[in-house]
Symmetry: D3
Amino acid sequence: MTHEHDAASLADFRAFRERMNTEILDEGNLIINRFFALDTRTYEAGALDVKTKELLGLVASMVLRCDDCVTYHVVRCREEGVTRAEAFEAFSVALVVGGSIVIPHLRRAVARWGELDAAASSG
Amino acid sequence: MTHEHDAASLADFRAFRERMNTEILDEGNLIINRFFALDTRTYEAGALDVKTKELLGLVASMVLRCDDCVTYHVVRCREEGVTRAEAFEAFSVALVVGGSIVIPHLRRAVARWGELDAAASSG
Amino acid sequence: MTHEHDAASLADFRAFRERMNTEILDEGNLIINRFFALDTRTYEAGALDVKTKELLGLVASMVLRCDDCVTYHVVRCREEGVTRAEAFEAFSVALVVGGSIVIPHLRRAVARWGELDAAASSG
Amino acid sequence: MTHEHDAASLADFRAFRERMNTEILDEGNLIINRFFALDTRTYEAGALDVKTKELLGLVASMVLRCDDCVTYHVVRCREEGVTRAEAFEAFSVALVVGGSIVIPHLRRAVARWGELDAAASSG
Amino acid sequence: MTHEHDAASLADFRAFRERMNTEILDEGNLIINRFFALDTRTYEAGALDVKTKELLGLVASMVLRCDDCVTYHVVRCREEGVTRAEAFEAFSVALVVGGSIVIPHLRRAVARWGELDAAASSG
Amino acid sequence: MTHEHDAASLADFRAFRERMNTEILDEGNLIINRFFALDTRTYEAGALDVKTKELLGLVASMVLRCDDCVTYHVVRCREEGVTRAEAFEAFSVALVVGGSIVIPHLRRAVARWGELDAAASSG
């Protein structure tokens, strides 16, 4: 799929993310490294299942308007079986809570969903 | 239960909320009235159930640090059967996504939970 | 008028604001003092009239969810002849742009408007 | 005009916006579709004229630091006859209310204004 | 010192903070408990000294407009020997970066400083 | 060094910044021009030294998630002798205060640091 608007392609996003995460963790700052470990564990199954927690992460990322975070959780939500209709309902909560300033991020989230559909069907 | 810290009691919060909502809707501003109607419908069952949508509203409110919104969704989550353990997992997502500035709102959310427990056991 | 919800009365707000502004300016920090002077000049008439600029300040304060800033601009808007209907239209823009998290601040802004009406009719 | 810094050209922005709005509305999520309709109606003439409401939308977008929203309202403000001097006064309110973190968005807003001037004179 | 504006007294703030921190940690949510432990360690001496890190925490709290966080770091900064002039310079950075919406929080921070001075001289 | 992810190269950032700052100041809006002058003076030595103030600006920019502001302060911090270990400690404060939504900005800040290292060693 072609490069969307002013966002990097998913492949570029992933490569940059991997490379920089490695560089950050290699620095050995205790606080940062523990935070990264904690971040990963946050979405593990507990009283709530992983799918619900990923939806929570998705909506939190969208109302805080962090495109990279939204991309990450869109990918994870799909892996956990979130359907397009479920994702749009989560987006609708983010839109009403966060207002029209969420719309540009909603557009990019839906574009990512399409990019992932295209990758899945060509894969 | 006694009045918590610098937050109004739940009864005061509800009375103020009801009175002002009425005054706002009575003004007859079309946009505001439609927004209020839309806000209510956002949390109705659809592809996602009401409980999940209330959890989404709770986490969105907490990362955006809106105490009144958190109070509203804490009340609604309990009505939908969210357990204390489930609420704390939702809080943990909000805390990790939103950082330590979420902590004062977490304290007030947990205080509200206790205030509701006290009201339930005395009711 | 009685003290609203968890907000200070307008008289208390004004007294605290005046006292702290004096204490802050008396400290003599050059940057802070210049910022305060600049802030005052921002709303003076220029290419846009004062009323329009106060409406801009009101909406900016509401989407950023600063109750004290909203109170200040509500007072100033009234002094510049903004009507209740005009204020509600400004609020409607803030609500749609900023989302449902703006609602608690909208309630307090409308309560302030009523508090000022009561003071005007008793004055 | 050449592509500015890390922002898409106005033509790319518009094409992406149109395409994604269509895809979003075609999904048929009731809440999202009603929100989009409400968003459009928010800026219609009422107690305040359209020009004033677009200036409110512009300043709200700038203090919330949403470049796409700023671009949209810059285009609409020009259509409503907002002059460059008026736009800069609106920007000055956003800058003082929102602080120096608004500056990168101010730069991009002014670049958009120039891009629209260039398009107007070449059109 | 008398209760300031709409903020709780420092004694009330501390009592509520202690009580709720205990209740939160006693819940035993792994993520939340690790986050609290990490938060404490963040301000320990390393490449930067404790005083500098507390000033960083103070400015971060002020631009994010979290009064409880500001109160916490004001107390800690004083314990680390930050002078009133140094605190005002840190406030000036927060004010310029974050804009006039920081002013209400600046007023409350300066009121806290005075409350702590009064407690120190009466202690 | 190659162009990082979806950020402009440092040379492009600087050229755009310089060009737009000139265009903005040439407009002659009194408020904006005074704000720009005040912004520059904010980081001058006083009760706190320049290095500390730049670290404050860096952390404030990171928790407010402004990449251009972070880039500016990363450059200035290096000029003031901030080491990589000191910068990572400042980043750790921003990460814990601001939460996981800071991570994408942390990645870009560390990439900028590397870009500046590469420029320094090739210069």
